[in-house]
């Protein structure tokens, strides 16, 4: 019976570790995809400007002037989705690790799974904070003249969603833990 319980605890711990790995790989894949999508969206548009040359004999000077014209980047929401996926798998892994701990707390693999699921939840929180802070700082660079719709969907909504995600992760991970069934 004890042997059976140890095997179950080990199996749960392995599942928990694999969930973290799947979450981290998904974060990587969605983030790389968001970088790819960024190639199609530019916050600047370029207009050809013609300036007269200082000497009448020379040709006029031509160059492209960059004009700041921010757009809503899908990558903002893709990055948020990547963090969401990682946070959810980390919370799930933590729940499974807690179940394994309740079955056999002194097992080395169970302890490893418990520690790594905790680290994964903390990492998800750190990623969420970095995302919200980076969005806030980039919004300061935009200034106040941006289109209100772009401003709302590129700045306010992602920050609010990130805050919601952080709150949910903290509460689910550390405060409102789900009951751990022994079976």
């Amino acid at each position: 019976m004890a042997k059976q319980q140890e095997l179950s605890a080990r199996k749960l711990s392995v599942n928990s570790l694999f969930l973290i790995a799947i979450g981290a790989t998904s974060w990587w894949a969605i983030t790389v995809l968001s970088m790819y999508s960024d190639l199609f969206y530019d916050d600047y548009r370029y207009e050809l400007v013609e300036e007269e040359a200082p000497l009448k004999t020379e040709d006029p000077f031509l160059y492209y002037e960059s004009i700041y014209d921010p757009v809503i980047h899908p990558s903002t929401y893709m990055n948020l989705t990547a963090i969401l996926v990682f946070a959810m798998t980390a919370l799930w892994a933590r729940q499974i690790a807690r179940r394994a701990t309740s079955m056999q707390a002194d097992n080395r693999l169970v302890k490893t799974a418990s520690v790594w699921s905790f680290i994964a939840v903390i990492l998800a929180l750190v990623l969420g904070v970095v995302f919200a802070f980076a969005t806030f700082v980039s919004s300061l660079a935009q200034g106040t003249g941006a289109d209100p719709v772009v401003r709302i969907f590129a700045t306010y909504v992602p920050i609010l969603l990130a805050a919601g995600l952080l709150l949910f992760t903290v509460l689910r991970g550390f405060v409102m833990k789900q009951e751990v069934p022994n079976e």
């Binding site: 790995a21 990587w28 548009r45 080395r108």
Partner: protein
Amino acid sequence: MNEKKARNSLAYGFASPIAGAALGVILGLAIYDIFDTFEQWTVAILIALLGISIWIGANKSGEALAYFKKSGELSAAKGAANLNSILAIVWMAISFFVSFTMAMGAVNSFVERPDYDGREPYNPADYTVAFDSTIFVGEFLPAVVIVAMAMFGFVFQLVATSKDED
């Protein structure tokens, strides 16, 4: 497992990651010297080599730890297991970082810009994003392989180093 086998496992636990790292460095240098290039797939192979050597070390130190836990002589076995655990963490973190930068480089390589002869003004918006199978296979695919190796290999390493019984 008897004590002799456990001591052998312990020795392998310490030796395997060191031998793997040395072999990886030598192999990498040799490839660079012979072919005068360092392709992304070479990085993937070297990371795989290092990962396998750490996994063997973790496996062997895990076996030794499980045996010495019963006999009470724990310090050296614990040292080997901890060494391999730390190496596994470092390996995973470096591999993840390498794969991420490699993928970023590959994504940027999909951008094609026209050649300027110097007389016409440079237009930063004048570029196309085109799928290139050579870049995908040569630069992006190794990044995918490395991240998968880093994440799932790390789990195998942790499981190997966390053995409690034979």
